[in-house]
């Protein structure tokens, strides 16, 4: 019996190694002294762990600034998407109106929009309206990119809350808005949390628009664009490059850890619906 399961477990081990090794190698390289990184035989376990590369990465020109930019843009986009999506999701989940189907279809189509095909008109629109090199333009773009997904997921969460709870509150004399705030919103909190964190990750990782729309004002770059030019920043210092990549990944990893269960259930449900 054990032997029969061997090929299966070997295959599982292979998947495990292929999945983990690149990330492991990034972290290990970041902690190894340069001498060990350049050794002829790679060291798979860091024997002389050091924080030297993290110091180099953090001390690099504009590091704090790019962190701030990425945080501002991502958080701004998510908050905007959340506010706008909540209204729309409520209308879709709780109300019956002419044009509802068409609206839902529009959201589904927008969710699949090939945003990368809009790089050129976005660049030209940004230029015409004086929004080129502005973080606010990126915020707006990330807002519209995350909006459809946010609406679809929130709609699911709102639909899962029994409408009778709100109605009972309304019967007790609360207005619709108060009923929503007192009854639906608290129940919706976990859904809002996970939806917004996924929106945050999307914005945090975005590269194409950040690369195309922030050109002259280098101080307004975001982390992904900064990281993509690591060759210019760190040269052949792979330790510092991997330290920078590790630091860039940390927030995303924390979010995934915080959401553990929802990662594999909620998001997939949302994606499957979309």
């Amino acid at each position: 019996m054990r032997l029969r399961r061997l090929p299966l477990n070997l295959a599982a081990l292979a998947v495990l190694v292929v999945s983990v090794f690149p990330v492991y190698w990034m972290v290990v390289t970041a902690f190894k002294p340069t001498r060990d990184i350049q050794a002829d035989t790679p060291q798979f376990i860091p024997l002389h762990p050091t924080l030297e590369h993290f110091r180099t990465a953090v001390g690099a020109d504009g590091f704090g600034l790019f962190w701030r930019n990425s945080l501002l843009v991502s958080a701004g986009a998510v908050l905007l998407a959340l506010a706008v999506a909540m209204l729309a999701a409520f209308a879709v989940a709780r109300m019956r109106w002419r044009g509802r189907k068409a609206f839902i279809l529009m959201v589904f189509i927008a969710q699949m929009a090939p945003w990368e095909a809009l790089l050129i008109p976005m660049f030209i629109i940004a230029r015409d309206t004086g929004m080129l090199d502005k973080l606010s333009m990126l915020t707006l773009i990330y807002f519209i990119v995350t909006l459809p997904f946010t609406i679809v997921t929130l709609r699911g969460f709102i639909a899962a809350i029994p409408a009778e709870l709100e109605e009972a509150a309304q019967m007790d004399g609360a207005s619709r808005a108060v009923a929503f705030r007192r009854v639906v919103l608290p129940l919706l909190a976990p859904g809002l949390m996970s939806t917004s964190l996924f929106g945050f990750i999307t914005a945090w990782n975005e590269f194409a628009f950040a690369n195309a729309l922030i050109i002259k004002n280098q101080d307004d770059r975001t982390l992904p664009v900064w990281l993509s030019s690591f060759g210019n920043i760190f040269g052949t210092d792979w330790g510092a490059t991997m330290a920078a990549a590790t630091l860039f990944m940390v927030p995303v990893l924390l979010i995934f850890l915080a959401l553990q269960r929802r990662v594999t259930t909620g998001f997939i449900a949302g994606a499957v619906k979309g």
């Binding site: 495990l16 990034m26 050129i120 792979w238």
Partner: protein, 329 residues
Amino acid sequence: MISEAPETYRPPAGPHTPTRPGPGGRRRAAKVSRAAAAWPYLLVLPTVVGTAYLLLYPLLRNVVISFQHFRTGELIRGGAAFVGLENYQDVLGSPEFWTVVRRTLAWTAVNVVLIMVISTLTALMIARLGRRMRLAVMSALVLTWATPVLAATTIFQWLFQSRLGVVNWLLVTAGFDSFDGYSWFADGDSTFAILVLLVVWQSVPFAALTLYAGLTTIPAELYESARIDGAGSWQVFRGVTFPMLRSLFGLITSLQVIWVFKCFAQIWAISQGGPDDATTTLPVYAFQVAQSLHRYDLGSAISTLTVLILLAVLVVHLRRMYSREGEEL
């Protein structure tokens, strides 16, 4: 609360009126409901306005520019003139464009086939694993999934680095001495291969975990009766698993086609379409033409054609989704 007002229960997705008349008599109810009828439209207004300005308008602007003479001069001064189909004639008449189209289709096909085959095998494997190993594999997949695109591109550049890269060391140790100091990113084909590897590595977790979630919904009795009928593994997959998950397979495949087809960040960050244009796919090509050659008109035409080609590839899925959503929603 629920037992207090059972008569007010309405299924969330069922048909219902926007509001119930309040306690203020008929005239007030009529007034309230007219005002209430406007509510859903007010609620979706920000979404509609945002989508119109940030998605529809850029899309239309893209199409308009593709019919104009729009280069650096027009970008600065404005006043672009319409030139009819000239840009499209230029694009469609250049052999380079067709090379890029063929490359993009090959890029999409290779990636999507690999992603779907590996994900399906991985999902079937996870379903058969013991509890602890299953948890380990799924956690590993989530870790890969959580890796940001730009972190992954940087990691892969390091893995395949010519002198210090661990892949070359591994290959040389395994006896392939020709890989000693091999520069992967200097050659078109090997750069293309690494990009495929990277995109597959990043895409498998989502597809595999979703397929696994789908697998767990298939009743065990179906497998048992198939086994009793003497079906082998492949027959069980063809006779039970695949038919049960047909729509999920269709959905994931379509999503992968979209993601791989329009993939830009990985290619741009690693090779910017090079070396020798070996990794230039349509989105990269459009951006190159607009950004480096300042031919915004040609770039827009290429972008428009990109969207049309993607639509043509996906038309089957879109049609099915439209009919399905039309029934369900």
